[in-house]
Symmetry: C2
Subunit: 377 residues, 2 copies
């Protein structure tokens, strides 16, 4: 590959997370929400790789269920995708990465693909492009590059990567010493103090052929399933629909687990570009603009003598009086109120909502599921 | 009057308070809300005086604007009112009391009338009836009896009455030493310690003729205006409409200010019957049933690891996580979140909502006012 060849962005929009409930819902997951500005996170991700000198049109991989959301959000951006690839069932990132690599390799095995989750926030877009340029030099040497965000706090919500030795001839790139799962607070503090741990951002850059070689070596059953699902795919003007049986019939592994933790061709490029996976309302608060009382406000909100709050109305006006560090998220379907510091415990709320569902009283989650069932029926 | 003669209840339903915003609104004030059970406060008030041996059918005095709410809520209770009297403009309690006394006196000047605000809560209904019976003996001696609730805390949200000497031959009734406006906290603590101060409940019992004599002595212009408004009233099957010009053309005084603070015929009967004027969300919390974590819950609510909260959904489900002492009130029009302890500061919220209304962004209050204007136009 020549340095001037464009990189193929692969935007992974298949997530189903509910950590931003009640705004994120099965029918409208996080990538499709306007959380930090006028654009959805998916649109921000697409805009991040829009520069035509550096990037080809993106592949987007998403659930069959969300195909029109994806297509419409890109259309509004006047961002013509290379292809919108539909997953017939929800799978983690390894099948998506492998499928994308097969599609890119069919054009040019040496072409680079940049795997991007579609629901992350990056404050410093220029820093992002510089990091991609640096990583491209590393990837051109046959490496699979992962981006590691420089920690500024002992975060327990992210996985970590320990950097190893510097790569020769690649400034700012390192061997991967090891991947570690989300640590407890004490461990996270040690990582922060140690200085050679970075957050696993979930972004990867690799030549298509290299990625497929490592897939073949470490997860051959995924490679075979993706080949079959592509071989049997149904392609029309708007969407590429992977063949359901073949795609479903494979292990459900993340790209980290399937390849990165096993390969000897990994590398890590540390980044310090205001990255956040916005995995909780508190994380969203951290990256949001604040008023002079430290309140992050979105939508129709009146805050009186309140400070340090995250106040988000996607529905009727919120009046906050005398609150300190509270998150309030209001949607037409439900309302969440909790201290920001406990926003990561939202699964407890969702479990409680599910537990009380008794067939007569539908929870908001049930209602979503039911309408999905109707669509499938 | 004979002891067996029924008392005429006069239910004052003309209030416009907004202290229970966002549930109470100009178009649907507090008396008409289901705040403490299956019945509205108006319905609870009517039920409190439903016993036919003791009480005649009630007069209800309300705003022209709320006539159908009043009529329908009483109809659902199968409670046929004596008359629903419509105030053409909002006035404090003196004109309403005077108008009711004129109506009752036209039948029998010696008949007793019992003035009852329609938006208060009473836990001990039996105690209420006993207190009324005791007060009736005092009123039969030509006194205007006010009911004073025994304080159990240094409340700053109520006016106080200081009891004087015991009335001869009237057990449990006292002269009124003085009325005092809402005190500051230090003063309220002194009142509580002193033991001879009670909260001014706003309920009164008096013979119609006595009330009119004192009105004539201390507020003759109100008496004349009410006579004129009744003289020019328009009466149909459902409503008695006071003549607007005459009714509007009088001082806007409370019955306390117009008569009770001036008369020498006042008396006070202390009551200890779980009375509350439910003037704030915290007051409503105090009288509500609580779960084992001290949460008072109404409507569709899931509370996880929360305690001491007032959680009231009149709209979408509320999910509360990790909250302590917070009030959340959700309606289809707006949402309030504040510490219970600051619920009495709600006027700040309403001022902020009004201040930001700039003609393009309507506040919930404006919307209500606008629709009222439309009705009047």
């Amino acid at each position: 590959m020549a340095a001037s060849d464009p990189i193929y962005p692969v935007i992974l929009a298949g997530g189903q997370g509910q950590r931003l409930w009640p705004l994120s819902r099965p029918s409208r997951p996080k990538p499709f929400l306007d959380l930090t500005g006028a654009q959805s996170l998916l649109q921000q991700t697409a805009a991040r790789v829009a520069e035509p000198q550096s990037f080809a049109a993106p592949f987007v991989i998403c659930s069959h269920q969300h195909r029109f959301l994806v297509a419409e959000q890109l259309r509004r951006q006047q961002r013509e995708p290379q292809r919108i690839v539909l997953e017939p069932v929800a799978r983690s990132t390894a099948p998506a990465a492998c499928t994308a690599a097969l599609l890119v390799a069919a054009r040019d095995p040496q072409a680079l693909l940049l795997l991007l989750p579609s629901d992350h926030f990056i404050a410093d877009e220029t820093g992002f492009r510089l990091a991609v340029r640096r990583a491209a030099e590393v990837a051109a040497q046959g490496r699979i590059v992962t981006f590691g965000a420089q920690p500024d706090r002992p975060e327990t919500g992210y996985g970590y990567i320990q950097s190893g030795t510097s790569l020769p001839n690649c400034e700012g790139a390192f061997e991967i010493a090891r991947f570690v799962e989300k640590p407890d607070l004490e461990t996270a503090k040690r990582y922060l103090a140690a200085g050679d741990f970075v957050w696993n951002s979930g972004m990867f850059l690799s030549a298509a052929g290299v990625l497929l070689e490592e897939m073949s070596r470490h997860a051959p059953e995924i490679l075979e399933a993706c080949k079959a699902a592509l071989g049997g795919a149904d392609t029309d003007s708007d969407f590429l629909r992977l063949e359901a049986q073949a795609f479903a019939d494979q292990p459900d592994l993340s790209f980290d687990h399937a390849v990165m933790e096993r390969t000897e061709r990994g590398a890590v490029v540390p980044i310090d570009i205001g990255w956040s996976d916005i995995g909780t309302w508190d994380a969203l608060y951290q990256v949001a603009d604040k008023d002079r009382h430290g309140n992050a406000i979105q939508g129709d909100v009146v805050a009186v003598e309140s400070r340090g709050c995250y106040l988000h109305s996607a529905s009727v006006p919120i009046a906050a009086l005398g609150l300190d560090g509270i998150a309030v998220v209001s949607t037409p379907e439900a309302l969440l109120v909790c201290p920001r510091s406990r926003a990561q415990e939202i699964a407890k709320v969702i479990r409680a909502l599910e537990a009380r569902a008794d067939g007569t009283t539908a929870t908001p989650l049930d209602q979503d599921r039911r309408s999905e069932d109707n669509r499938r029926a």
